[in-house]
Amino acid sequence: MSEIAARQRLYRKSRGSVFHGFDPILTGAVALLLVIGTLLVYAATRDWYSRNGMDPQYYLKRHMINIAIGVFLAYGTTVIDYRLLRAYTPFLWGAGVIGLGIVLIGFGSTVNGAKAWIALPGGFQIQPAELAKISIIVGMSMILSERSHDKDEAQSRDVLQALVIAAIPVVLILLQPDMGTVFIISASVVTIIAVSGASSKWVVGLLIVAVLGAFTATKTGVISDYQVKRLQTFVDPTADSHGAGYQLRQARITVGSGGLIGTGLFNGPQTNGRFVPEQQTDFIFTVAGEELGFLGSALIVLLYLLILMRAFSIARRTNDPFGRLVTTGVIAWFAFQIFENIGMTLGLMPMTGVPLPFISYGGSSMFATLIGFGLLQNVHARTRG
């Protein structure tokens, strides 16, 4: 412990200021998304809440608190020596697994068909699956970058160990069931293993397992009814015209009705009429689509692309294998979560309940994505360029 503390002091000294090493483009893009997200959360809730006699700024205030906490966590993640982070990772991982266990054995509250939340006093809830994403990414990167042998590439033993790290939380999330998160974690796992330099047999094998797993899950009923329904409505939107099909159709109509320039912030009749459910969380992109139009929503997609491209550049530039794998894991996480969320809104992906990074209302997701951003900054700061 003392050695770690000493290293940390040394590291701190080596930097001119606390902001040293911040990537201004990455930070700027994230900051802009946070601002847009705040406006969208307000736009999604303000009209309805004031008309129904509630505080129109209820969600706005909570969202800003979430951002404040998230920024604090991101800063912490950025400045922490990630070797220290490695030391904490087993605890983080363990906490994630325990949280997922608690959710399953009955303390969790069911939201939209999935037991994914732990209710905390004061109306707060946390979603252990969000934190599990981070612990899996960091944990796998740790195992695959620290060689117990002198080979440059990760060996099968390392890969197997890494898979065990991922498998335990994934199984627990599967049981919730939260297929969206499983999909995102799986994408991260395969990406990290691929970039670790492990044999391509592993990558191909895992992809095959993923496809077979998805197939048997739908066939044998591991996937619950509501998920089958969601998948069916993805294939045929009229299959369940009042449930999932309704939501997907409404979402598409809302986005499409925005046109080029949109109705203007706070002026979307679809949004204000709340025709799309969950529009401050999973379906928040519909608010952007309707009120900001193609220009606004395309800007959001561009900002995400910018963030991801900066992350790729960080992954290339770093000399540290652990940092590269963490960065790669975060890239896959962000990219697939963005694609799943917006794709669902636009009718490209089946309906799953994943939030939109940096934008959706929701503490756990906001904290997790900002910690992920912190990890990117941390790796960047350590890269001497």
Binding site: R51, E153, I253, L260, F275, A298, Y304, L305, I331, G343
Partner: protein, 696 residues
Amino acid sequence: MNQRSRLSLFVVQVLVISLMSALFGRLFYLQIAAGPKYREAALSIQSRDVVSPATRGLIVDSSGVPLALNKVGLAITVDRIEIDKQGDKGEAVLKHLAKLLHLKYADVYRNTRLCGELPKGGRKGCWTGSRYQPIPITKEADPDIALAIVERSDQFPGIDAQPIAIRNYPGLAGVNGAHVLGYVGPLTDTDLAKGNGHQYFRSEVIGKDGLEIQYDSYLRGTPGIRTVIVDRKESVTRESQNTLAIPGDHLITSLDARLQAATEKALADAVRRGRAAGYTSDSGAAVVMDVKTGQILALASYPTFDPNIFEKGLTVSQASDLFSEKKSVPALNRALQGLFAPASTFKSVSVVAAAAAGYNLNGTYDCPSQVQVGNRAFQNFDSKDQGRMNLKKAIAVSCDTLWYKIAFDEWLRDGGLRPKSNPNDYFFKAAQGFQITKKVGIDLPSESTSRLADRDYKKSWFEQNKDFYCNYKTRAPKSKQTPFLIQLAAENCVDGDKIRAGDAVNFSIGQGDTVVTPIKLTQMYAAIANGGTIWQALIGKAIVKTDGTVVKTMSPNKLGTVNAAPSTLSFLRTALREVVVSGTGAGAFSGFPIQVSGKTGTGQVFGTNPNGSKKDDTSWFASFAPSNSPRFAVVMMVGQGGFGASTSGVGVRHIYETLFGVKGNKVIPGAAIFPNGVPPTALPKISAATKPKGSQ
């Protein structure tokens, strides 16, 4: 970083860029390419139109007496949005309401459901409008009950009482007018789909028949539309548009309420007279036309119905009575939909034909008891030998045999059964000159086309029937296999496409396959009266706005002229006068102070009634007056009414009595419908309060 890691990272980067590009492309498709489609879909999700129907325009007679107006009723309405919010979906409230209004709850329940909410087959009485407008349970509520509901609104949440406009046919001066005026009703899906270039709304009423449907586009006005934006819970968030209703324009007709009422009464009396004389006498029609313009001054059809039953709510038995054969199909407007053999009224056409063929109109002709036509003897009416007489007298006494002879001779001259390539066809051409096969063009729906049994008709008839007659023994039912009918079928098979001698002679006296509508015969007699002009029959005179400005005038429309020399028509008029002076119409008009000209007709009808009795003759009287300066043509037809003179002739006299203000054999000064002898040309001021002349 080794090579494999570098490659993997590159592949991941390409994948990520593809994913983001896919989002970009999809976003472009949804918002730009398909944007308009989705904008429309969004609008239909968010906006709700609340339609307030426009006040329908009035229909008035030529002096401004209202024939159709709007009455204020008290509607008890149900607000579906409001009652659906209640715990039991409004069941208790609706039950309470049903009890108060003495209605069945099941009916009230059904009346307040949208048609799509009810199972197929159980939708009668469902609400065809939208959920967002008040649904009327009754339109004529007791004011006390309405007041009770408004005052105790806490006990009747979602129920309201409000004044509502209902269409009303006031029947001033005793007018029924059902066949002319028509009626209104709720829009059907077909109406909505048709559109006719207008945007219709479900809650509107639309003209369903008669003038109401003919002039619907003017009468209906433009409904007011309030568009509101709603949220997912259907509560209104704001109003996006609110246009006020524009009341419909008024229709001024050429009808006269008092004359219409008198015509209806004269017709009903004639039908009764026919029955009293022992005939089946089950139907009839009467038309009064201005011969100088073609405008219809009165038009009646018997039997009739109460045009107000539709707004009151048609019961099942009322609805089936309208089309019941037993009740002689009251829905049918016989004046323009009934087709009957014109019988002797058609001899006017034969006079024109004879003149064209060169017969001397002032010469004398035999009127024997029968004429041999080929191997068949054609009898005079009642087989009476009337001796030799001039043509005028022959028309007056309605001699048939004279026409048989002329028609047979002309038929032979045209080549008989082997017709010349260019036959003279004087009879057919004279009839065609009256435009018998063209519609009178009246501004009422569903006019039937009269039929002329000429060469073209025979050819098309044969095309349709030769198969039957040439295979008569296998096709015809056993009961129709009599030697006479088999012989007839064989003849039909051989030369069914030819005009035979029998066809030619029957044609000349208006029997056989020639059939006309009463209004067509009116138009023909109007043409004889006015010197040969065929006018389009019109009821509408003008469309005026509520402030009195004229939107449109329906000016008289000349369709053509009768192909006859003025001297021929002049002779015909004196002959028709002679009918009333000394001929078959003399009895009916004895002592009548106004000179009337006309022609009786007693048409044979083949076939049997539903009760098995043989069909009685069609009774006709076609006329015009005053004889020296004709202004009005009056035609009456009574189906199975027997003799022309006694049934219809007397009926026509009654119509003229009202028209000219005659009582007994005297003209009462000032009692005529048109004091200066002509229908008014100036448009009246329109007020719902206008009363017919001579009433309080």
